[in-house]
Symmetry: C2
Subunit: 109 residues, 2 copies
C-alpha cells in the first residue's frame, strides 16, 4: 500500500462482530481501523507484551481500561499499556470508528 491513505477509505461493517482491517504493519507497529456499529463491542482482553492506543475518529465509545470505564468521543486518545485489560462498547446511536495502534504487532509479541 502507498504510505499515505485516509482512514475513511477503510471503514466498514459486519453483522456478526465488529469490523477490523489493517492499514500498515511493520516489525514494530501495526495500525488499523476498527468500526463498531451501535451495540457492538470488543470484549475486554489483555496484550501482555504490547502497548495499544485507540484514537476515536467518529462516534463515541465506552472504554474499559483496567478497573476504569471512560466514555470517549471524537478526538479522544485512549491508552492501554502492556498488561492492562481493555475493551470498548458502542452504546451510541452512530458508528464508532477507531484508529488503533498495537506495538509490537499481534503475532510479533
Amino acid at each position: 500500500m502507498a504510505p499515505v491513505t485516509n482512514y475513511r477509505a477503510h471503514t466498514g461493517a459486519r453483522e456478526d462482530k465488529h469490523y477490523k482491517t489493517t492499514l500498515f504493519e511493520g516489525n514494530h507497529l501495526m495500525v488499523g481501523v476498527n468500526c463498531l456499529e451501535p451495540g457492538q463491542e470488543q470484549s475486554v482482553h489483555t496484550h501482555d507484551s504490547a502497548d495499544k492506543v485507540y484514537i476515536v475518529m467518529e462516534g463515541e465509545g465506552l472504554f474499559t481500561i483496567g478497573e476504569e470505564t471512560h466514555v470517549a468521543g471524537e478526538g479522544s486518545v485512549v491508552w492501554a499499556p502492556a498488561g492492562v485489560p481493555h475493551g470498548v462498547r458502542n452504546d451510541g446511536e452512530e458508528r464508532l470508528t477507531l484508529l488503533v495502534g498495537i506495538a509490537p504487532p499481534p503475532g510479533k509479541h
Copy 2:
C-alpha cells in the same frame, strides 16, 4: 495521566520550531501531538529501528516518505517504517496538527 485524553487539550505553538508533546509512553509505543504552524517543518530524518505513523487531525501537510512526497489532509494516515527517511512541512495557511506514534519509543530503540 489518565488513560483517556483529547488531543485538542495538548496542542500548542512555538515560534522557533514546531511544537511537540508526549501523551503516552510505554515500553513499546510512544504517542504524541505535533503542531506545525504555516511555514514550519520537521526535517527529513530516519529511525533505523522504529516504525512511525502520523495521523493528520487538522490542516494539511506535505510529507516526504523515502523518495516520495504526498500532500495529506485531515483523516490521512501516513506510514514511515523503520529505515525510511521521513519528514513533513506545513505549506498551508492553517496549523497542521498531527498525532504521531513511534514504536519503540525514542530512547528505547
